[in-house]
Subunit: 147 residues, 2 copies
């Protein structure tokens, strides 16, 4: 039986001085999870390094110039044709002017304690809410350690 | 100030029917952590997909033909010239004949509860012992969720 291939994707955890996290809302241009909030990011292209993919995707989606600083967490989910390993990276802003692509229609700094009230894409919901809960309640420093 | 670049590395969590995990011992051919036990695996080459790197590294180091099945966990550590994001993948054996490279001098199936007694490379020790402890004590299924 052929195994479903793996893909690699990245998401940026960007924080402001108040400790809020930047989320973008999926627009009607998407096929799924329209209206759901997510960290900016996306798939790594074949052969593309994950930190390059993060810079590219965040710039495309938010207009911001960023760089990855550290691993924040990792999870996995299945799509019809691919199993995706998702790396979430603590990311800092180097410059740029906020500007959304057509994939998103809003841009907001959200306190972690409010994540639980948001519509979040189903395949990353448990992961994002667990992460936000640990941030809001002063858990361990962000470092992926599996289960 | 230039930022230290990121690299990506992979390790294979291989299990036998008794639930033990395959470890290999670092030989004197290594510059560091000689005698320490680790999961087989290594660095992704530039442009190489992580699941391909896993297959290649495990075959080079153990002679076994394998494929990645799922994300087991993720962590991060710093080396002098690079910050490494390490993906650990649940992996299954498809075939091959066990044969070590010169990087390792032993090959052993080890119960997770015995990991704490082993010499483990310092930069992954906390991660591997935490993982093994959750496995030995029937924690959550293996899926990286950050801290």
């Amino acid at each position: 039986m052929p195994t479903k291939p793996f893909g690699l994707a990245v998401k940026a955890v960007l924080r402001d001085e108040a400790g809020r996290s930047l989320l973008v809302r999926r627009s009607r241009a998407n096929r799924d999870s329209v209206g759901a909030w997510e960290w900016p990011g996306g798939k790594c292209d074949p052969g593309e390094a994950f930190d390059s993919a993060l810079r590219r995707e965040v710039q495309e989606e938010t207009g911001l110039l960023v760089e990855a600083v550290a691993l924040a967490g990792a999870t996995e989910f299945e799509l019809p044709m691919v199993r995706v390993v998702l790396l979430c990276l603590e990311t800092r802003i180097l410059g740029g002017v906020p500007a959304l692509s057509d994939e998103h229609d809003r841009f907001e700094w959200v306190p972690f304690r409010e994540f639980a009230r948001l519509d979040i894409p189903a395949h990353v919901q448990r992961f994002m809410l667990g992460f936000a809960d640990r941030q809001a309640h002063g858990g361990a420093p962000a470092l992926a350690e599996g289960p």
